[in-house]
């Protein structure tokens, strides 16, 4: 049971963190460099999950992907089953919930790159795309990796959103944090302790690896001011 929950949790965290890598990098790039007047609006929106109770986010995602919503109906027509209370639904909710944890470190890292380097790249004839691939991405790599690892770790420990939109279906939506909740409800404190300890160790190992790597990784050895 614990193994099933663990596998599911890791599968969710991997899926979510990779989606956030693909979505987060361009979004962070836009947030770091756009001069649009309404940028603050997007910034606030992206940061919302940090302050919002997971139940609020979970509730609206549930409504949005439920069988009564256009998205829910469209998905059911294609996939043949509803989106709510499935693994896919869980991924959608988790991506939204972990979005700021991926985007903020990436955006901070991109914004801290000296603008003169981007100018220099353009003056040497490079297109925006080439500047992004050769200058922005390598120099912003620490932030990108931090965002990736944080979104992974944050998804590991997620509870409220999962409960709201995933329910508690073994193998589909019962993640480790839900399992712990289950075990406590059943007054099986010994089992709950084992599961909780596992999650604690996993999250700690993730973060320790992240901060340890940041110290020694090649992208920090560049040693420039």
């Amino acid at each position: 049971m614990i193994l099933q929950a663990l596998t599911l949790t890791l599968r969710l965290a991997v899926t979510v963190s990779f989606i956030l890598l693909i979505v987060g990098v361009p979004l962070a790039y836009w947030l770091a460099y756009s001069r649009k007047q309404w940028k603050f609006f997007v910034e606030a929106l992206v940061s919302l999950p940090i302050v919002l109770p997971p139940t609020v986010l979970g509730f609206y995602v549930l409504v949005a992907i439920g069988p009564l919503s256009p998205v829910g109906r469209w998905y059911q027509a294609i996939a043949g089953h509803p989106l709510a209370f499935t693994f896919e639904g869980l991924v959608i909710g988790s991506v939204l919930y972990s979005l700021p944890f991926a985007v903020q470190p990436m955006a901070t890292s991109f914004a801290s790159i000296d603008r003169k380097l981007l100018d220099a790249s353009a003056l040497l004839g490079a297109s925006g795309w080439r500047t992004f691939c050769r200058i922005v991405l390598p120099l912003g790599l620490p932030g990108v990796l931090t965002g990736f690892v944080l979104s992974f770790a944050h998804t590991l420990g997620e509870f409220g959103v999962v409960l709201m939109i995933g329910g508690n279906i073994p193998g589909a939506t019962r993640t480790i944090s839900i399992l712990i909740f289950d075990q406590v409800e059943a007054l099986d404190y010994a089992a709950a302790n084992r599961t909780a300890l596992l999650l604690l160790a996993l999250c700690f190992a993730m973060l320790a690896a992240l901060y340890g790597l940041r110290k020694r990784a090649p992208w920090n050895v560049w040693g420039w001011k």
């Binding site: 000296d114 003169k116 380097l117 100018d119 220099a120 790249s121 353009a122 003056l123 040497l124 004839g125 490079a126 297109s127 080439r130 050769r134 200058i135 390598p138 120099l139 992208w219 560049w222 040693g223 420039w224």
Partner: protein, 381 residues
């Protein structure tokens, strides 16, 4: 050898850079003026000379395309890169303008070699390597090719940044005080290499500086800018030795500049008498064509003033004033004395002269200023 032969370009067409732009500064900027210039720079060095904040960097940013002028036209030979009339505004990566900014902006995560190759990605790799090798040799940094910018010296970084810019064969080169931080020897070596390089390329080079030594080292042509406008142009000698405008005079090292009023002309002697406003000091200056109704100033270089400990006699100099020493300061190998003769003069002398004259604070000295050391300044705009 054959390879480097093929890498040598046919002589580039000698395109002039013509610039006629106006740009007012953003509201946040402290500068209350607008950049408003009109000039053409031919192949070779043109020095843009002016105090910091005069608008020099903004001008270069506009030419490179990093900033957009409010109005005007910028063309390199027949190629128009900006024209507010027809709405042309070529982005910086397609202007073929080499621009070396003050910060150099070497890519910190790449080696010197990778930095230099960065702008050559459209070339075949043989050609790219040949050009890269050629420019690294020309700027004497072949040995540094595998090092990162953080691992080389300041002078080598300047060379690397120059090489990276020049290897792309820009049609115009803009240099924003690229050598300010370097010692004189390193500076002149790099300038020699740069000049040698441009003998082959023959492109217009705009070189921004506020240091007058650099002006004399490089200058064929100089454009002096103040508050966004061109206030003087010509050879360094014309502009700096006989400055017409006070801004240029200050930059050119006239430590003493006095507000004066015209008193009398002596055409038979080729001189005129001017009174230093607020004092009873009268200066004899060369007879100059001036507009008596507009403010007049006289500039005197601190090094052109003689000091005497006794009233001097039998001199041809027309301006001899007694004064008291208000301050004495040693600056490097020079002594700076301030002498109050009604107006305060700054005088530069050697430590040896200070010794032999027994100069002391409050002591009386006599200043001797030749008529032709008095430069009459009247802004022509």
């Amino acid at each position: 050898m054959e390879m480097s032969e093929s890498a040598t370009p046919a002589p580039a067409p000698k395109d002039d850079l013509s610039v006629r732009i106006r740009k007012s500064f953003s509201r946040e900027s402290a500068s209350p003026f607008a950049l408003d210039v009109d000039f053409t720079a031919a192949a070779g060095f043109t020095i843009l000379f002016g105090a910091s904040g005069a608008g020099k960097t903004t001008l270069l940013d506009c030419i490179a395309g990093l900033e957009t002028p409010d109005a005007g036209r910028i063309a390199i030979g027949p190629a128009v890169v900006f024209d507010s009339g027809s709405g042309v505004n070529v982005p910086p990566n397609r202007r073929s303008v080499g621009y070396l900014q003050q910060s150099l902006a070497l890519f910190p995560h790449m080696t010197v070699g990778q930095n230099v190759r960065y702008g050559l990605d459209r070339l075949a790799s043989a050609e790219r390597e040949a050009r890269c090798r050629q420019v690294l040799e020309a700027f004497r940094i072949s040995a540094m090719a595998e090092r990162r910018p953080a691992e080389i010296s300041g002078g080598e970084r300047q060379r690397a940044a120059l090489a990276r810019t020049l290897v792309t064969r820009p049609r115009v080169l803009l240099l924003d005080e690229p050598l300010t931080a370097l010692d004189a020897v390193t500076k002149s070596q790099i300038l020699d290499d740069l000049r040698a390089w441009n003998k082959q390329q023959q492109i217009p080079v705009l070189y921004v500086t506020h240091q007058r030594e650099e002006v004399f080292a490089l200058g064929e042509n100089i454009i002096a800018i103040d508050a966004g406008r061109i206030v003087a142009r010509g050879s360094p000698h014309e502009v700096l030795q006989r400055p017409q405008s006070e801004t240029v005079a200050q930059l050119a090292g006239f430590e003493n500049i006095f507000d004066c009023a015209f008193v009398a002309a002596h055409p038979e002697q080729g001189t005129m008498t001017c009174n230093v406003v607020g004092t009873n000091l009268n200066l004899e200056a060369p007879l100059s064509r001036i507009d008596g109704s507009r403010p007049l100033r006289i500039g005197i270089r601190a090094g052109d003033i003689l000091l005497a400990s006794q009233p001097p006699q039998g001199l041809s100099a027309r301006n001899i004033f007694a004064g008291a020493i208000a301050s004495l300061q040693q600056r490097d190998v020079m002594v700076v004395a301030r002498v109050n003769c009604g107006a305060e003069f700054e005088v530069h002398l050697t430590p040896a002269a200070r010794e032999s004259l027994h100069l002391q604070l409050g002591g009386t000295v006599w200043l001797v200023v030749k008529t032709y050391s008095c430069q009459v300044l009247q802004d022509s705009w």
